[in-house]
Amino acid sequence: MASPVISLRDIKKSYGSGDARSHVLRGVSLDVAPGELIALVGQSGSGKSTLLNIVGGLDKPDSGEVCVLGHDYAKTPEADLARLRNKSIGFVFQAFNLLDHLTCLGNVILPASFDRGTTNVEARGKEALSRVGLADFGHRRPGELSGGQKQRVAIARALFGRPTLLLCDEPTGNLDSATGAEVIDFFRELNRNDGVTLVIVTHERRVSTIAQRVIAMRDGAIVEGAEADTAQPGSTDDLGGPA
């Protein structure tokens, strides 16, 4: 196996203190190879999103080692971590998280605001919008779009930096099944054609049908023996509990 894109060793994370202390991750270890498409499934509160946030450097573990794209997070300065998120990691959220006061194009090119090196910003933004089928929506505001269109703008924003790793937290959670299916198909194309590594937190069975690995989590740990190779496509039944 090539050097992993994501390498997690004994990750522990808890919130609160005393009796109210909640152990969200209880020693998670995981390797993700370049070009893999992983589905991370499990009940609500099983620790999937927390794990995804730790992989993206949006949250810090209490203990354990996180190494993503060759960066050991414990030894990486905050500014370098921000640059890594800006250049190499894309995020797609369930709630889209678009800024309503900006146009779609403005949202897509927002990552360029934090980078000195990006050139042809507008052209690249339009290209990203074009990839998600919203070439003509650049000057619209998010408020004028449907949920599916908003998520596609969010995906275009995530792709703007041409990342090698895309982290998606329930990307179809707020979409109807048809639109959700389009988004999942897009992820599959992205993985196949561009070799982007994807980790998708999801409840949707359809995602598991396109994933090369499905990793199930329960009570803050990966369920041993629950990892599966590519499942059969076509089903949209939920995996795990409600969103």
């Binding site: 949006l58 500014a79 800006n86 998280n97 927002l110 605001s113 924003r157």
Partner: protein, 468 residues
């Protein structure tokens, strides 16, 4: 750290997206900065009139304190030696004597067709002509002509007699039947202002704006008047001059200078010395009434004053200007203090608004962190937004102050009666006041935004994104 251009674009976009928040944050600062500019420009404008025209403070007057025992005058005398001693002081740039006419004298003549007569003795000072040498309009006309030998040719003062060739500048002196140059006379801006505001209207006389222009329009001859030396209009004068010693000299008003005596006339000191000797004796002619001292720096006034008291037993003449300057300083300080309180309260309000905004924008901050913003970027964005409020509030506050100031000036011009030194404007809106206002506005807004910005920058992105 994100590029400055990108930061500026983002900050402007953020600041303009919620006009309600912007106005709420800016309102107090606009009022505070407006008050600051208004008060500062107002006190500066009034101070300029008071200390620039009414009580010039660039020079101080040294006098001898009056001391007497059993009716005997034991006051320190001011003479040439005193002037020399004062000149040796390091803080003194120049020291020039001033001598008052110490015997009865009157002035009389015609002005705009009206006979005028006024007391001159005790109300006329002599100063060295070099005292006004820095004024190009006066340096060639304010001279002790008699001492310079500008006498002749012969003339006869009677009607039909031999006149003097230069009617504008000469008169025929009855004492020696020779043409003498008229004694040049200066008045202070105070006298001119008193004439314009108190005398001109009530006597139907013309206002005098620029004295030089007035003289040029009316002609030098209309500035002539005579001085009756030894004569007086006041009963019970201390010094009586025998009637046979009375004599007349010709004078001419040559201009206005703030070096002139505040109320009265000012002529070259040589005339006063000679006349005091002639009418009051050698002793009087050798004593100066005061010494005008120009200091190298106004800040050196205190040590100079102390030296005068300790070593010379002399003192500075109580200067209304200094008292006004002190009063103005106190008033300015209080008003600016009030303005600062307003601005500080506004900065607290800005902090409160930004705390609210940071809470409302937690998710947005989380998104920015997720796509590559560093903690420093988040802090710079919030501080940039508060600085924008500072810039706009500073400009708006300054405009507000200028607008109110203009209204005050217009109201004063239309509704207030004329009074001495009534200014066209009460405000001096000089550039540095605006620069200071803008600087303070930005500073206090940034200070107000500092804590919310820090808090925003410390938000963990995952927590911020989890916010509803």
């Amino acid at each position: 750290m994100m590029p400055a251009g990108n930061l500026a674009r983002m900050v402007v976009a953020n600041a303009t997206r919620s006009p309600k928040h912007f106005i709420l944050s800016a309102f107090g600062i606009v009022v505070g900065i407006g008050a600051f500019v208004f008060f500062l420009a107002g006190t500066l404008g009034v101070k300029n009139v008071l200390l620039g025209k009414v009580f010039p403070l660039d020079q101080v007057e040294v006098i001898a304190p009056h001391t007497s025992i059993a009716g005997k005058n034991l006051s320190q005398k001011l003479n040439a030696e005193t002037v020399t001693k004062i000149k040796t002081r390091r803080e003194v740039k120049d020291a020039l004597p001033r001598m008052t006419l110490q015997f009865p004298a009157t002035g009389f003549g015609k002005f705009e067709g009206q006979d005028i007569r006024f007391e001159v003795g005790g109300f006329t000072d002599g100063i060295p002509d070099v005292h006004v040498a820095d004024d190009p309009k006066l340096k060639d006309v304010f001279k002790d002509w008699d001492a310079m030998g500008e006498i002749g040719p012969a003339c006869t003062p009677q009607k039909g007699g031999i006149p003097c060739p230069d009617k504008a500048w000469q008169y025929c002196d009855r004492q020696d039947n020779m043409c003498h140059k008229r004694i040049p006379v200066l008045v202070s801006p105070t006298v001119l202002e008193l004439y314009n505001s108190q005398i001109a209207d009530s006597h139907g006389l013309p206002h005098i704006g620029m004295m030089e222009q007035f003289i040029a329009e009316r002609g030098r001859e209309r500035m002539h008047f005579a001085m009756g030396l030894g004569d007086t209009m006041l009963a019970g004068s201390n010094l009586q001059v025998a009637a046979d010693k009375h004599r007349e000299v010709g004078a001419i008003l040559v201009g206005v200078s703030n070096k002139a005596r505040q109320v009265g006339l000012t002529i070259p000191i040589g005339y006063v010395e000679r006349w005091n000797r002639e009418f009051a004796g050698d002793q009087v002619a050798s004593e100066y009434s005061s010494i005008i001292v120009t200091l190298r720096d106004k800040d050196q006034l205190a040590p100079f004053s102390q030296w005068l008291q300790d070593d010379m037993k002399l003192k500075l003449n109580d200067s209304l200007g200094e008292q006004f300057a002190t009063a103005m300083f106190v008033i300015t300080s209080v008003l600016i203090g009030i303005a600062f309180v307003i601005v500080i309260i506004s900065a607290i309000n800005i902090a409160h608004n930004f705390f609210m905004q940071v809470t409302e924008r937690r998710r947005e901050i989380g998104v920015l962190r997720a796509i590559g913003a560093t903690r420093a970027d988040v802090m710079a964005i919030i501080l940039g937004e508060s600085a924008i409020i500072g810039v706009v509030s500073g400009l708006a506050g300054s405009l507000f102050a200028v607008g109110v100031g203009t209204l005050v000036d217009v109201a004063s011009a239309h509704f207030l009666p004329k009074f001495p030194f009534k200014p066209d404007t009460y405000f001096d809106f000089t550039w540095w006041i605006f620069a200071l206002a803008l600087g303070f506005s930005i500073l206090f807004c940034v200070l107000g935004g500092l804590l919310p910005a820090y808090r925003a920058s410390r938000l963990e992105p995952a927590q911020a994104l989890a916010a509803n």
